[in-house]
């Protein structure tokens, strides 16, 4: 079995199923369960940063966890150095979670719930790799912002931030990206978790400056199965969850034309991502989270 693939017969990976996770009320617990389960399924490969093989020292900088300072070197040289192990990249991860109203869509669990699990899991994973973690919750405004740091308690704080997010209001992509560009100067990883109901070209305009500033952007594109293949039996009056606008559509259109349009949009977002050297990961909210984590690790390794 390939790494990251789910196997329902394997008990640990079953925890990665979002429908199972939705029964857990503690997001931190969810993240831990997901990541531990995921990690248990992985081979001890040094390339993912989970080995204890010493690689080098580097100078301590603000934001580094003081617990990682090598006090022996300090006693000899009066300088603070941090030990780096293989797999650690001395990076930071910024989580951008879309909490617009459209993220509240979903039958058994919403896209926002899935996004929270994903974001929490990524944060937990990054924490294990001693990466600095930050989070930004946004919709059409910046709702919460936590700058990336690897200090003690960061993981708990990030997860709390994620946990408190609700799906309301609309989506304004330019605000989080502009704010992020203004506050985070250091190169790192940026994970954007959203359903990306926006104009691909406009999205490119917002994200491209990040890429140019050296940020590595991975876009987790979350969609519910009903958004990908809606199945209605009769003419239905739909209400847009963000704008409240009403539209009446017939089942023939939803069965034939709509899937093509949403696929074209996904393709356009993916193309946009490629156009600015970003990764695009399309996630069905029924998919287990290991695929997302695996994509993240692959992406991190690639950008290390």
């Amino acid at each position: 079995m390939r790494i990251g693939q789910t196997d329902n017969k394997n008990a640990p990976t079953r925890l990665l199923d979002p429908s199972v996770l939705s029964s857990l009320s503690n997001l931190e617990l969810v993240a831990k369960a997901v990541v531990e389960g995921f990690v248990m399924g992985l081979h001890r490969s040094p390339k993912y940063g989970f080995s204890q093989e010493f690689v080098e020292y580097r100078a301590y900088t603000d934001g580094d966890d003081p617990r990682h300072i090598d006090w022996n070197v300090y006693s000899r040289t009066d300088k603070t150095f941090i030990k780096l192990f293989k797999g650690e990249t001395n990076s930071h991860l910024m989580l951008l979670l879309d909490t617009s109203a459209s993220m509240g869509f979903g039958a058994t669990h919403t896209k926002l719930q899935y996004g929270k699990y994903l974001a929490a899991s990524l944060a937990y994973l990054a924490s294990r790799q001693h990466d600095a973690i930050g989070a930004m919750i946004f919709n059409d405004e910046i709702v919460q912002y936590r700058p990336p740091t690897s200090k003690s308690g960061t993981l708990h704080g990030v997860i709390h931030t994620l946990d408190s997010a609700d799906a309301v209001e609309g989506t304004a992509m330019h605000k989080p990206f502009t704010r992020f560009r203004e506050h985070v100067k250091k190169r790192g990883l940026v994970a954007v978790i959203s359903d990306f109901y926006c104009d691909p070209e406009a999205l490119m305009a917002y994200v491209r400056p990040l890429a140019l500033h050296g940020q590595d952007v991975i876009m987790f594109h979350l969609l519910d199965p009903d958004e990908l293949n809606p199945n209605i039996k009769e003419s239905t009056l739909y209400e847009d969850m963000e704008s409240g606008e009403l539209i009446e559509v017939d089942p023939v259109f939803m069965k034939q034309d709509y899937p093509q349009r949403i696929k074209a949009h996904i393709a356009a977002i993916e193309k946009t991502a490629k156009g600015m050297n970003a990764d695009h990961v399309m996630l069905n909210t029924n998919d287990p989270l290991d695929r997302a984590l695996h994509s993240y690790l692959t992406f991190r390794e690639k950008r290390a």
Binding site: S102, M103, G104, F105, K111, D195, Y197, D224, E227, K233, E234, S235, T236, L237, Y238, E239, D240, M241, E242, S243, E245, L246, I247, E248, V249, D250, P251, F253, M254, D257, Y258, R261, I262, H265
Partner: protein
């Protein structure tokens, strides 16, 4: 609206069922939330809206079905006022237009129509009006209405006729035509107010009042002063070749006028005479046409005066002169040489009408010729045999008439042939004691005006016993009938209880016998019923045909009787001026009809009398018995209850069909989009 079974209204709670099913039990959400509609496209058909509409209509239909079903069980009834119903505040204008003959003078009738139109236009918001015409009779034109256009429509076809208006009769007729009502009444009377139309008693012109409803009278004269008018008042045939014509000055002042009188007989002008007539007020001047030639039978005499005045139609008078030869009559006798034959023949031939007696021997008589004669005479009823008696009875039953006497041949018989009166036992005969006339029914046409019966010497009679089917016209002492009439079928049987040979009594040689025979002939031939000169709107008696069927033609030549009426109608009304023609078997009779001469008098009622009349009616308000209360069509009647459950059932059927159709479409929509 009222409900006869209102308890069923509790069943209306049942409408909660469709409401619950449609609004609470439905899983259908009105709208569905979706993350983003940016990739969706509006459906070309607003199916959702249509469907929702259908859904609501379906629910409404089901609720309506239950409501109507419940209502049908509650037996709803509508109480509607009768058509033309009036209220306490309604004023009912009764517009009466005089359409009598005098209104044909000049523009009187046009003026009356204009006045009526003005009244119609002046109707108030709460007012209604009904239109009546008054002439020989009072007639309603249409129904009571508040619409002036309908009144005008009713006026459009009116015209003055040839009848006579009697105001007292008109008020009486209004009494019967108008019944009680809640309305206040104003009687508008539009007329020329002829003095001759005034009732004999002024009180007859005052309408009564019922229920204390106010009634007032409004008088609308069409002219303000008398109009001189001459009319041809009479045409008399004084001798066999002269005609005397009377021309009347119908005004309240002495008048003279030069008039040319023309005499036409059977539409051929015979003579014209011009003369200046001078006549006092309401007086007649005469002029005689000499050497006039008449045709045999009925002659139509038309006398016209020219130049004409305002009232054209009374300048011509129609008269019929019967120039027929003596009418034939059969005298049946067993002895054609007897004295009885002589006496009867003499009496008939000297009667004013003149009869040609055809003697027939009873033994040789062929009864088939009976139908040619309206009546016959039998000198001794006892002489006829049973066979002839049967034939004569059939003849009488069919409308014929027989004048019969008893005689020697009747002695010893039990019954009088044909008449079937019983003859009692013994012969009443006395040479020493004569019988006296005890009672004469002088009201009977046969005995009308005749005198001398009490002077008869009667020595012998038959002891005839009569029942109540016989009318004893003359009684002797001891209650012995002397003259008996019995109606048999359509005919008459007149029996004298004496012989006519001057043996049993001296009647045949008395003067009363001649007048009796003449009157009996007129009576039995029905000539008395036929007056050949009549006034318009009078009735013509149709009994003169002797039982034979006949037809009547009006002055236009149109037949008036249906086939059944030719034998059954007893009389017809003469509603046109001119000549009516009565055609029966072997007879052709003319009847002249003229306007009522009283209508030719155009003198109007005194203005003070009119004002008094108006005042008296208005003054009677609330005091007298409601007369004229309310028009029939405005009757203060109980509201009419109209049950509407049948209508509800029809609506229910329509709703069931609609619901089924709509429900089927609703389901078909769901299936089609699955």
């Amino acid at each position: 609206m009222s409900l006869l079974s209102p308890l069923f209204l509790f069943a209306l709670l049942g409408i909660a069922l469709p409401i619950w099913l449609h609004r609470l039990q439905t899983n259908a959400t009105e709208r569905e939330k979706f993350s983003s509609i940016m990739f969706m496209e509006q459906s070309q058909r607003r199916i959702h809206i249509q469907r929702k509409l259908k859904y609501l209509i379906l629910m409404a239909l089901r609720i309506l079905f239950l409501v109507l079903l419940v209502l049908a069980f509650t037996k709803p009834v509508f109480f509607v006022a009768p058509e033309g119903a009036v209220t306490e505040d309604t004023t009912h204008h009764i517009i009466v237009i005089d359409t009598s003959f005098s209104m044909r003078e000049g523009d009187s009738f046009d003026q009356a129509i204009r006045l009526a139109e003005g009244l119609a236009d002046d109707l108030g918001a709460d007012d209604i009006a009904s239109l009546y015409t008054a002439s020989g009779s009072v007639e309603t034109i249409g129904t009571a209405t508040a619409d002036p256009a309908l009144i005008r429509g009713g006026l459009r076809d009116l015209e003055a006729d040839y009848g006579r208006l009697d105001i007292g009769a008109m008020v009486s007729a209004l009494d019967s035509l108008i019944t009680s009502s809640q309305a206040n009444f104003i009687i508008h009377f539009i007329s020329d107010f002829q003095q001759s139309g005034q009732a004999m008693r002024f009180a007859d012109m005052i309408p009564d009042v019922i229920n204390g409803r106010p009634v007032s009278l409004s008088i609308h004269p069409v002219k303000a002063e008398d109009v001189p008018n001459w009319s041809v008042a009479s045409v008399e045939i004084t001798t066999v070749d002269s005609v005397r014509v009377g021309i009347k000055n119908n005004s309240a002042a002495d008048q003279s006028a030069e008039k040319t009188l023309s005499l036409s007989i059977n539409d051929i002008e015979q003579q014209s005479l011009t003369e200046t007539f001078a006549a006092p007020a309401d007086g007649i001047s005469y002029l005689t046409f000499e050497n006039v030639l008449f045709e045999e039978g009925d002659n139509r005499l038309d006398v016209s005066a020219s130049p004409s005045d305002g009232l054209l139609e009374d300048d011509t008078r129609h008269t019929v002169f019967d120039n027929s030869p003596p009418a034939p009559v059969i005298l049946l006798s067993s002895d054609l040489e007897s004295l009885a034959v002589t006496y009867i023949t003499t009496a008939l031939e000297t009667a004013p009408r003149g009869y040609e007696v055809e003697l027939q021997n009873i033994n040789d008589f062929d009864p088939r010729i009976l139908q040619r004669y309206p009546w016959i005479v039998v000198d001794d009823i006892g002489a006829i045999n049973d066979s002839l008696a049967s034939e004569l009875q059939s003849y009488v039953e069919a409308g014929g008439a027989i004048l019969a006497a008893v005689g020697e041949r009747a002695l010893g018989q039990a019954n009088i042939p044909v008449g079937e009166q019983t003859i009692g036992g013994g012969l009443t005969f006395s040479r020493t004691t004569s019988y006296n006339i005890q009672r004469v029914n002088s009201a009977h046409p046969v005995l009308d005006g005749s005198v001398g019966w009490n002077n008869l010497a009667i020595s012998r009679v038959l002891p005839i016993e009569v029942d109540n089917t016989n009318n004893v016209l003359i009684n002797l002492n001891d209650n012995i009938p002397f003259l008996i009439e019995r109606n048999i079928g359509l005919g008459r049987f007149l029996l004298l209880n004496t012989d006519l040979n001057n043996t049993w009594s001296d009647l045949p040689v008395k003067p009363v016998f001649v007048s009796f025979i003449a009157e009996a002939a007129r009576h039995l031939s029905n000539e008395e019923l036929l007056v050949k000169e009549q006034t318009i709107n009078s009735f013509l008696q149709l009994g003169q045909s002797g039982g034979a069927s006949g037809q009547v033609y009006d002055p236009s030549g149109d037949s008036l009787l249906s086939l059944a009426d030719t034998t059954q109608a007893q009389s017809i009304q003469l509603s046109e001026t001119g000549y009516y023609r009565i055609v029966t078997l072997g007879r052709d009779i003319l009847v002249a009809v003229n306007p009522d001469p009283r209508e030719s008098d155009l003198s109007i009622m005194d203005a003070q009398a009119l004002q008094n009349w108006e005042t008296m009616v208005a003054g009677s308000t609330g005091n007298m018995e409601l007369v004229n209360g309310v028009a029939v069509n405005l009757a203060e009647e109980e509201p009419v209850a109209i049950e509407i459950w049948r209508v509800l059932l029809i609506l229910l059927a329509v709703i069931v069909i609609s619901e089924s159709s709509l429900g089927n479409r609703y389901l078909r929509f769901n299936i089609g989009t699955t």
